[in-house]
């Protein structure tokens, strides 16, 4: 490892990642998935190289198995839980512990003074429940985006006020079309260092419980993200 006169590792491009780290095999060129030791912002996203807000190469694999049942159990088989027009039904369904992921036909909720809210999916921090539009399952990143919310990732570029303990600020550019956690659809496939750290640490509880119908409350210490 090359160092400067003070014994610090050399960092030619000044991006805080030492040259030996950015060019691990020492061949002087960019390796697949790596960053350029001569360029402080290899992917030109304006977030530098290697920081918590910089997109990075990462492989995350998600499997969505076939639904266990074609219909929700009683009382969630009522129309109000499939064509959702109220916050109350949406939240009730999300917290229902019969499954982590519930697929519905429509979510269109009136907001006083604003147009109806029509999301593709809905997840909350510190809780493993997700409600998704059936028609959105195939869209790039929608499932994983909502999964990101369940362990406290807000949208890219949002600093949250800390309503829930597990939420973190998510640095970066809100308008970045490549970001998985972008607020507006369509989102891209990329995640930054902050998001990566959260994704690999989350180990959600499995909900397959008909005896305890609801997540009664989100105990902040119990659900504190690991």
């Amino acid at each position: 490892m090359a160092t400067d006169a003070s014994g610090n590792p050399l960092d030619y491009d000044g991006d805080s990642l030492p040259d030996y780290f950015e060019d691990k095999n020492g061949n002087g060129t960019i390796d697949s998935g790596g960053s350029d030791w001569r360029d402080p912002d290899t992917d030109d996203d304006g977030q530098g190289d290697g920081g918590v807000s910089d997109d990075l190469a990462c492989y995350l694999e998600f499997f969505i198995p076939k639904a266990r049942k074609a219909t929700f159990p009683f009382p969630y088989n009522a129309t109000n839980y499939n064509t959702i027009t109220d916050l109350a039904y949406l939240e009730e369904l999300r917290t229902a512990r019969f499954a982590n992921l519930k697929l519905v036909t429509l979510i269109s909720i009136p907001m006083p003074g604003s147009p109806n809210w029509e999301p593709l999916g809905y997840g909350q921090p510190c809780s493993p429940g997700i409600v998704l539009l059936l028609s959105a399952v195939g869209q790039t990143g929608v499932v994983v985006h909502e999964y990101g919310h369940t362990f406290g990732l807000p949208h890219r570029g949002e600093a949250r006020s800390g309503l829930f303990n597990c939420e973190v600020d998510n640095p970066g550019n809100p308008a970045d079309p490549t970001a998985l956690m972008r607020a507006t659809a369509p989102a891209g496939p990329e995640i930054n260092g902050t998001e990566w750290a959260r994704f690999i640490a989350w180990n959600p509880e499995t909900w397959n419980d008909s005896n305890t119908p609801h997540e009664e409350s989100r105990d902040q210490s119990a659900f504190l993200c690991r």
Partner: protein, 307 residues
């Protein structure tokens, strides 16, 4: 020489013809109005199946242009609104919109009257609801109950009018008549008797109007609204008979927000952003005694259904 003179004469004649058409058309209808509005509105009319007759691009293009010449409103926000009266403003935009004096309120109402398709006036409706007073109430309540009497509206046009009911709650923050109107709207018979337009699904529309009435009561932010909402939990209320318990819980939440959070928070930070609203709803349901009580009640209805 003769050729040059003819060419010169031709140029002068062409310029005169161009000037003549300019004075006939563009002066009367400013370019940016006539082009944009005729295109967008014509598109909207097509989208709604053209069920409201008599709303042509030309007619619609004319009204803002001529209004600009005849009326006196000059504030930029108002001018923008008149340019795009169909665009619903966000809550943040509504909050920062200049307040309306009686004369301005009257002018905006006149503009509204000139637009025969409600879809094309939804921006004006929301501004009148947010900033208007008595005159706005009279106009908006007439719009809901009388103006489109016996007309068959498209689903999109109905949706605009239905939304107007919850917007009426914004007006009810300072207007007692609007609040009284909403209180009456908690009785389904009120809507059966005053639903002006012909609906594709009258009973479904009445149910939706009642749900929006609940949200309007909440948006009023009036302290007395809390007990009105609790009263609707009685099994024999129309709200319960029509299965609107979800809308009732939502309204209790919206009222809590209106009473406990600043207008800045309500309009700018939440401002219809669903995910932020849901976070607040989730926190309200879990952490406030009021929210917990409403959640318990809502959940208990499910177990009642089970037995």
């Amino acid at each position: 020489m003769k050729k040059a003179a003819i060419s010169l004469l031709f140029c002068v004649a062409s310029l005169f013809v161009l000037w003549f058409f300019y004075t006939l058309t563009l002066r009367e209808f400013p370019t940016h109005y006539s082009t944009r509005m005729s295109e967008s509105w014509a598109g909207k009319d097509n989208a709604t199946g053209g069920e409201m007759s008599g709303t042509t691009g030309t007619e619609l293009a004319r009204s803002p242009g001529t209004a600009r010449q005849q009326h006196t409103i000059v504030q930029p926000a108002v001018a923008d609104l008149l340019r795009e009266p169909w665009r619903r403003l966000t809550l943040a935009e509504l909050a920062s919109f200049p307040s309306l004096g009686p004369a301005e309120e009257k002018e905006l109402i006149e503009h509204c009257r000139e637009i025969s398709n409600p879809t094309n006036a939804s921006g004006l409706f929301s501004v009148l609801a947010y900033h208007g007073n008595d005159a706005a109430f009279e106009f908006l309540s007439d719009t809901l109950t009388n103006r489109f009497r016996d007309q068959r509206l498209s689903a999109e046009q109905e949706a605009v009018l239905i939304h107007l009911v919850s917007d009426m709650g914004l007006l009810a923050r300072r207007n007692d008549r609007a609040f009284l109107f909403l209180r009456q709207g908690l009785n389904s018979e009120f809507w059966r008797g005053s639903l002006g337009w012909l609906s594709h699904d009258a009973e479904g529309t009445i149910r939706t109007l009642m749900a929006m009435t609940l949200r309007g009561i909440a948006a009023s932010g009036r302290p007395e609204a809390a007990s009105i909402l609790v009263e609707q939990r009685k099994p024999d209320s129309d709200v319960m008979r029509l299965g609107l318990q979800g809308a009732l819980v939502d309204s209790a939440f919206w009222l809590w927000l209106a009473l406990n959070k600043s207008e800045q928070f309500y309009s700018s930070e939440l401002g219809g952003q669903g995910e932020q609203v849901m976070s607040q709803f989730s926190a309200w349901r879990q952490r406030t005694s009021e929210g917990q009580e409403w959640a318990r009640w809502f959940t208990s209805l499910q177990s009642q259904r089970q037995h």
